[in-house]
Symmetry: C2
Subunit: 395 residues, 2 copies
Amino acid sequence: MTRLAGSSKLLRAMNASAALAHLLEQDMLTRADLRRLTQLSTPTISDVLRRLTDAGLVAVVGHHSGRPGPNAEIYAVNPDAAYAAAVSVRDIGASRTPSVVAALCDLTGDIRARIERRIDFLRTDPRTALVDAIADLRTEAGIAAENIHHVQLAVAGSYDTRAETIRHVDVPGFARPGLVPETAAALGTRVGVDNDVNLAAVAERRRGVAADVDGFALLWLGQEGLGLAIDIGGTLIRGARGGAGEIGYMPLYAPGSIHRKVDLQDLLGGAAIMALGQDHRVPGRTPLEIVTAAATDPNQAAEFITHLADRIAVGLAAVIAVLDPSLVVLAGPIAQAGEDTLLAAVRAALRRAAPLESTIAVTTITDDAVLLGALDAGLTAVREGLIAAIRDNQA
Amino acid sequence: MTRLAGSSKLLRAMNASAALAHLLEQDMLTRADLRRLTQLSTPTISDVLRRLTDAGLVAVVGHHSGRPGPNAEIYAVNPDAAYAAAVSVRDIGASRTPSVVAALCDLTGDIRARIERRIDFLRTDPRTALVDAIADLRTEAGIAAENIHHVQLAVAGSYDTRAETIRHVDVPGFARPGLVPETAAALGTRVGVDNDVNLAAVAERRRGVAADVDGFALLWLGQEGLGLAIDIGGTLIRGARGGAGEIGYMPLYAPGSIHRKVDLQDLLGGAAIMALGQDHRVPGRTPLEIVTAAATDPNQAAEFITHLADRIAVGLAAVIAVLDPSLVVLAGPIAQAGEDTLLAAVRAALRRAAPLESTIAVTTITDDAVLLGALDAGLTAVREGLIAAIRDNQA
DNA sequence: TAATTGTTAGACAGATTGCCAATTCCGAGG
DNA sequence: CCTCGGAATTGGCAATCTGTCTAACAATTA
């Protein structure tokens, strides 16, 4: 139900933003390519490119040769037309020191700067910390403040868009209402906030195993908690209060049910994995060490792995029954440590438990998926902002 | 990322379809209203309306009086410009006689004809039955065949769009590959197929408790099976193979797990409700009779209702943990029979079991929700088809 | 020579502004 | 109570403007 109406100015804007959208997606195109993609005539394409070039958004980056006729000009978006930044705030395991990882990329997605900081948020105000992190990124990349169009924040929690408040977050200071708009004001950019697992799913779609899938679920097995991200055709499901995917709290049915209430966190949380490992005499002082040890010596820890996979299958079976995703991705430190050993065990467990057969895979992202996903999300926001700006500016 | 480009013809088409979209949504508008809604100038609105009138899609239905100036003409879509039909195929409880319910509505959504047939699909070919049903509707409403633009089929099963085949369907003959395209060819219209619970959710959104909600989950408690429909911002989630919401097959975790595998169907299927009712000495020979009896005498059957609500809460808790819907709707014969008694019990059970508080409601649709939803879905398809036709015709 | 690129000029389509006539309501005055 | 004039609104017409398209053309390279 497209209810968009307007005059020739709208047309002009639409054509320009269509061309820009194609250039952002395919990164190198000739006039002829754009003609084919947009179905516009030669003079119009020339006009559109002239305007985009004048605005500094695209530039000629080379010439096509080897064919009869003049060398066709190759256009591409100007990488320096705008930048996106991402900040991932997290707890670092047992040391309990909250920490910050941040990166900055240009309009083509190339990472221009990256920093890591250990910050104690009991002593530092989050807003100052964030502003400083962005400033550090800017100096490292040598970029002016006003060229950063969007800052994406990744937190282990959910963001209430209406109240502009981060909820269910453990890092001190981040739950304060008003933090996000104040930071945005201090930075002079738009600031987006999203759950870390959701952003890991964004990365998985752009550069991981979920690249060409129409929808998938990503189960994040962290050192402490677990989470789920749901991607339907490229958009993430966040739920009414941002609580979608909080399957740690999913209660499990106990037939006799004189047992105390059991939820999935009791089965797959860090403490549970620790306990399970100790029961099976798998060495290690943290959940991650235990799973790593089990994966490196699968024969020794076969029973542990089977049990762990069974527990993962319990959660996945519910997710699969509700959503029927075409792909399920296992991600997070525990899943990565478990590698193919754990993957195979989960597949087997699901074949026993679940009604629908689903493809299961382990993430292929070895770098910091949350940070990369935040960067991807920020970049998408910047690109959509540019396209919208063209549309509005000329309208 | 709107990548739509074009010339003045596209503009013309866009403006016409924007106006039509507004008229379809608001059903009575003056030129001035359309001017305000579309931001177009007076001559353009006049031109658009002239073209839509010439095409027979809209008409002047009255005049505005009581204000200074000439009586403004009131435009509305022509109800007879196109029709949508819906057919719901089902099993009728214990008698095991598959049956067909069908209805036909005009472009404004008014129901023009409605029929019910008892058809034994062991003896009748589904295609002939469907064609006959549509023919009966046409004669009852006195409408030409070519004016029916879309026929929507509701079945207890899922539709594989790629293979054009209905899956997991019990009614004989409907699983045959090729049935849907053949029926479409015989009818000379487009035929859409969807799961009955999904279509009930469509009705719930358009005319039930879910009218103004941004997303909801609908739990269908039928005489035999159960199902779930997931609505995210007005679009239904169907899953990779149309299996989303098949929570009957959701396995339940058993801690000791020497028990045999238990799934939600074992807890909430017809047989399970029967058994539960007999355990608690609630009278009745069918699940529906038992729940009805329990709802009419809540004190007597308090324990039965609590148990049943607990079981419903088990399924809902998983759904809520995964999706965090802003509303959960209980629908289907069992839920309707349980009425407020069951609703209150489910609310109490969920407060005990689920982490996130969700609004729970019982469906407010007393008529055949599946049929109405199919009609709504068919009508939407017809409307979108008209809008698209305008866009393409003039392009 | 043939194919391809990109520009320019003129035609064309569609929307907008501004102007105008017609219509109706409302209130004032007889 | 009736009549008349002002105000507000509707909808059409002409002129103008914006933007794209077709066609012709110059330039360039295999």
